[in-house]
Symmetry: none
Subunit: 183 residues, 4 copies
DNA sequence: AATGAATGAGCGTTCATTCAT
DNA sequence: GATGAATGAACGCTCATTCAT
């Protein structure tokens, strides 16, 4: 599983051969079929647990009565924390599955995750703590894009930094770059 | 070229065969070799002009003495405008080249574009118009991630909307979601 | 085509590899795909023309107003003549397709051929020239079985002998082994 | 054994995997090797007992002083009876072994069975009860072909019908289809 | 006697690439 | 400039067989 995640994230799902995966674990490609039913199967098996975990945590946060800004911050933390811990897995998800209409099931997961974030943005607007001319759809997609893009630059293995990055990301989306006139 | 962009963006570079491309343009795959030297060649040819254009426009804007916030807004506009006009090409770039270390040349382009944006953020901080605790590296990468992620959700063909989306994106990154206390 | 017929008839369709076929014609197995779409495709292409020919000739004979015994004799001649001329092709048909429910189309062909022969037997019974206690279904199937079994013992390449064998086969089915009391 | 017969007769020897066989009997393919030495071994084991039985019974009948026509009738009965009782086994024999030169041993069995029948035909001719222009070789092969072809159409499990079919088959080969002028 | 895991060879198929015409 | 045919390597997958447990 970990080998597959590594190989898929390096070469892409299409570009990686099962022989590559098998070599990583020191067996022949045919032997993999004692564990998987097909290459696609392996892809889904690699990617599903963390996708499930993230969605579940986001659901839980969404159900909370935290203020919108706090919800978004926490979601960012959770998301980055998974990236930090399981980067190859998440990379594979982002590159091979997210936003591609692979199957109804995956499309539904994608959409639900997005709509949880969108709801947080909307709650913020409705509560008056977010600007009322905020374009919620665009903000949501940029928020997610920023998180997913981390798979292309974040260097994992440092939970403290993960937390810091998540907070900075949240700061940008909440307060923006401009200096606040505090008076 | 356009055919290749379409095919590569739909099926991915690895997943598309030269026969697919040839079919799109009504010839046999062998005949493509009258125009290209290799499949990889074709990939670069598809992607280069718009990458060049975007980089050049960003360079020009960066050299301006516009305020940092305006530079970022304009870069966003230019970037989104190209996405709107050439989505398949940009998609291929984002999925197959950006942030993968394909070659020194492409890595350099990537890096330069990123550093132009990072410079704008830094100028803003130095000029005091951006918050002085802004994490410039993170902000830059999120900015770019948000733009690149648009290739996964933006529906092209509407320059007016492209402009609007770019502005909303810039608004988020500049002012954030929180309502400003205007006084 | 001829190479495939030879190889399939020697090793069986399942036991033969496309590499075997390719070797017979001096190319690599991949090159076969310039001519066929799949291995199954090749099987059908090998087998169809003669199957069609035999069915058409049988239809024509069936439509005639020859006496039943003559119809059967002529069908036997036509059938054996094709075996003599195209043994490998017919062998493949008999071993891989006949009576196996490969597809509706082939099942229909099989059934039609059989029913043409059955009809001849029935005509003979109705006309009173065949014994009225003849079991038409069994006779038909034995007739066809005898012809198809020839693919396992007949040595082709001698049209004169083919004709003789067909006549002897017809004699057996018409007059049987017993000596007629000629009076 | 029965499982193997079923599987081989359904999918063919080449098309069936040992895993198919193992599944039928509720174990894993590896475990089969506690009972067999190889896949081919299994094939022979499946097929041998009934082949032996049929040959032995045919030998015994051949040694009798029954008239030729009665010998043939009895052989047909025995043959069809085995088909009725053990269709999958016989199917495998007919499709995978009969008339293919698998090994000397099997070829010998085939040949002996055929020559027993041929001898009966010859006896009939010599005794003057069969037509003296009967082509014994062809008649023999058609007789066997008719019997073997039954594996493709006969529906087993009804000994009474088996007996009837055998008799009808014998009637065809002895008396033919033509109505006898009884006088 | 059975399991689960591994092997190694082979197969059907795809595809980038070449090249004579 | 295009075609059609060929190549050679790779790939996903299957399977008979082996073997330690």
């Amino acid at each position: 599983m970990a080998a597959a995640a590594r190989v898929f994230s390096e070469k892409g799902f299409g570009g990686a051969s099962l022989e590559d995966v098998a070599n990583e674990v020191g067996m022949l490609k045919g032997s993999l079929y004692n564990y998987i039913k097909s290459k696609e199967d392996l892809l889904f098996a690699v990617v599903r647990p963390d996708a499930d975990e993230l969605l579940m945590k986001a659901r839980r946060l969404s159900g909370t009565d935290l203020p919108a800004s706090e919800k978004l911050r926490q979601i960012a933390r959770v998301h980055v924390e998974i990236i930090d811990r399981k980067l190859p897995y998440v990379s594979v998800y982002v590159q091979e599955i997210a936003g591609r209409g692979i199957s109804q099931e995956w499309t539904d997961m994608d959409r639900e995750y997005m709509s949880l974030i969108e709801k947080a943005f909307m709650e913020g607007v409705e509560a008056g703590i977010f600007a009322d001319d905020l374009d919620v759809r665009v903000a949501t997609r940029c928020f997610i894009g920023s998180l997913n893009w981390m798979t292309r630059w974040y260097e994992p293995g440092d939970p403290v930094r993960a937390r810091a990055v998540a907070d900075q990301l949240a700061d940008v989306f909440l307060a923006g770059a401009l200096a606040r006139s505090r008076n």
